[in-house]
Amino acid sequence: MSESNVPIERESDIVIARQQGRQLAASLGFSSTDQTLLATAISEVARNIVNYAGRGEITLETVTDGGRRGIQVVARDQGPGIKDPELAMRDGYSTGNSLGVGLPGARRLVDEFDLVSSLGVGTTITMKKWLR
């Protein structure tokens, strides 16, 4: 499995996405802790899709950079977009009914985190975690 696509349409898809992420991480030789960190980060970005966009998709693939190997997670939706991405990445900030730790928390669980969003167009979050 080098690339897989998980449609996120309902909350039960969140579990599917994080389980596939964990499997991919395990097959690459990630430690059990890193598998859990990645699965938790996927859970948060998938939940973000369900809560704010309603539907979207998560793509999981293995990536290499020089000698490094890792996993790239892309969470994409065509939802309303995030008005102030900088604010959304701040701990404790939430426009929904949540703790406001989801996205800033997910960023701390991975090595690279990039959020691109435009109003009325959608949001794409790209995360990478490297094998160590």
């Binding site: 909350e11 039960s12 969140i14 579990v15 994080r18 389980q19 964990r22 059990s32 802790t33 598998q35 859990t36 960190l37 699965a39 938790t40 859970s43 948060e44 939940r47 701990d91 949540s98 703790l99 730790v101 989801g102 800033p104 928390g105 997910a106 701390r108 669980l109």
Partner: protein, 123 residues
Amino acid sequence: MAVPILKQGDVLIASIQAALSDRDLVDLRDELANRVGRLRSRGVVIDLTALDVLDSFATRMIRGIAYTAKLRGADTVVVGIQPDVAFAMVQLGLALEGIATALDLEEGLALLQARKAERDVRK
């Protein structure tokens, strides 16, 4: 997949499985609040041993379950949080403030027993 709830004396034990959906957690909260009253339970143990991911929503729900049970007169102990899960929760910035935790089911039941003994002494 509904979470099985076992009754042991005046304690309810809910063992959560790996593929826990949001819906299951909401159902569990409602079911526990209901049974605490119906069975006059004084304690609730939520066993997370089999759970491999505890994200922000699940944490919020577990807190909600514990607070709801408290308002219904039962103490909650969360047991079995795995080392990797605990580490991920710390990184995420999640906490179970004000909620008792114990290493495993045995320790959790012992904690509830100790609290009960304390209450009985005060009577």
